[in-house]
Amino acid sequence: MSVNWFKYASPASFLPLAGRLAPGFLVAAAILAAIGLYLGLVVAPTDFQQGDAYRIIFIHVPAAWMAMFIYVVMAGWSALALGYNTRLSAMMAQALAPTGAAMAFLALWTGAFWGRPTWGTYWAWDARMTSTLILLFLYLGVIALRSSIDDVRRADRACALLALVGVVNVPIIYFSVKWWNTLHQGSSISLTAAPKMAMIMLAAMLVMTFAVWFYCIAVVLWRVQAIIVEREQNSGWLAKAAGT
């Protein structure tokens, strides 16, 4: 059986698909969040060094991961938008930016509340904190550029180019800040070394990661529906689909 993937490159056929998928992802996110928070807040033991303050990582780490991941996904959609000149790709990139910015902000905010009891300071000029802050500025730049250009198609392409320039710079910024100053503890999870966390904490964090991931997908699908309806309001198919 062959599936015609390009069918869903059209906003007209993607709109109902997004409408069907979004509630499913939101329900999945809610269920996973309930499991993850139960594991993280009730089942997982108190850390003998950090006390209960460490439990904020069940939000903090997924948010930080999503902030970085969403930028890469946004750059991917931007590359498609520039390469194939597809409208839907640009709309997806537009829908991702606010969620990515929110995740970066959440990571910084929860990190500050973790840092206060653990390191004794809300903010340190450490590599990952500083590069997450700069990532937030990169998101704000994309959002600001979009809102400053009136022509929608031109805004699409300008933002796509900016996202691509940004994604080349993200690793450079990360390493420059890392070599500049580092007091952040090493990565909590490493693919090469045995995990130092207790299994139950790791499980809770992974479940929460999927919960946050699905939440982001659901929110982005909702936002992209709004963008499609807003942009296509003068096209015939939308009125027909709405049955008016």
Partner: protein, 228 residues
């Protein structure tokens, strides 16, 4: 494919044209340098003029001032040509647009980056820097400020025709300037800490090559988007 022989003449033409325009509006260059000098002057007034403190802060202040004065001159890079239609004519030329915008970047650096590099030793001495520090600072600025012009050109082209002008440009460009700032100012700190500034210069040089490879094409693409 574009004719490889067309690249250098296109670069030279754009460079010569922008330099001629810059030299005929010399007061703008003067304002630029006055701005740089003012920013550098304001810092000691806001903190105590303690020689040891100024010696520590000096490289960072000089770098931030260089970055701001480069940013201040960015709108001039394309905005006037965009407004009077020259940019559209340039983009229509059969010569490669990436080479033409490279010439404009080079002119931007020669008129904003180079004066800053030349003047930096004077201001560094006002911050009680030693002769060795001054040499490292100037070498870092010489390697780093071209990157600022090149990255800035991408932002300047992207914001053509957008509302928000200067502040939008700052939001787009300043985060991208961070690595240059870190390695440039870090070179002097490394020397202060008794280490070699070599790695910082190597990284700045690598950044310069990477920017020279990538930004002309990104800028050309951004110019075409703006002209659509």
């Amino acid at each position: 494919m574009t004719d490889p022989h067309a690249v250098l003449p296109a670069f030279r033409w754009a460079l010569a044209r922008d330099l001629r325009i810059a030299l005929r509006s010399r007061n703008e260059l003067g304002i630029q340098l006055a701005f740089y000098a003012l920013v550098v002057t304001l810092f000691p007034l806001t903190i105590a003029p303690d020689p040891a403190l100024l010696n520590t802060l000096g490289p960072g202040v000089l770098w931030v001032a260089a970055l701001l004065s480069s940013l201040l001159a960015l709108p001039r890079l394309f905005a006037a040509d965009f407004a009077d239609g020259t940019l559209a004519a340039i983009a229509l030329s059969p010569r490669p647009l990436a080479a033409l915008v490279s010439g404009k970047m080079a002119a931007h650096w020669l008129t904003t980056g180079l004066p800053v590099v030349v003047l930096a030793p004077v201001f560094a001495l006002a911050y009680h820097a030693s002769a060795g520090d001054v040499a490292v600072l100037v070498a870092g600025l010489a390697l780093g400020t071209p990157i600022l012009s090149m990255l800035g050109a991408v932002g300047a082209a992207l914001t053509l025709g957008a509302r928000g002008g200067g502040s939008l440009l700052a939001l787009l460009v300043l985060p991208l300037y961070v690595p240059v700032l870190i390695f440039g100012a870090g070179a002097v700190d490394a020397v202060h800490a008794g280490m070699s500034a070599g790695p910082h210069f190597s990284l700045l040089g690598a950044g310069l090559l990477l920017a020279a490879l990538g930004t002309p094409f990104a800028t050309a693409a951004a110019v075409r988007i703006a002209l659509d």
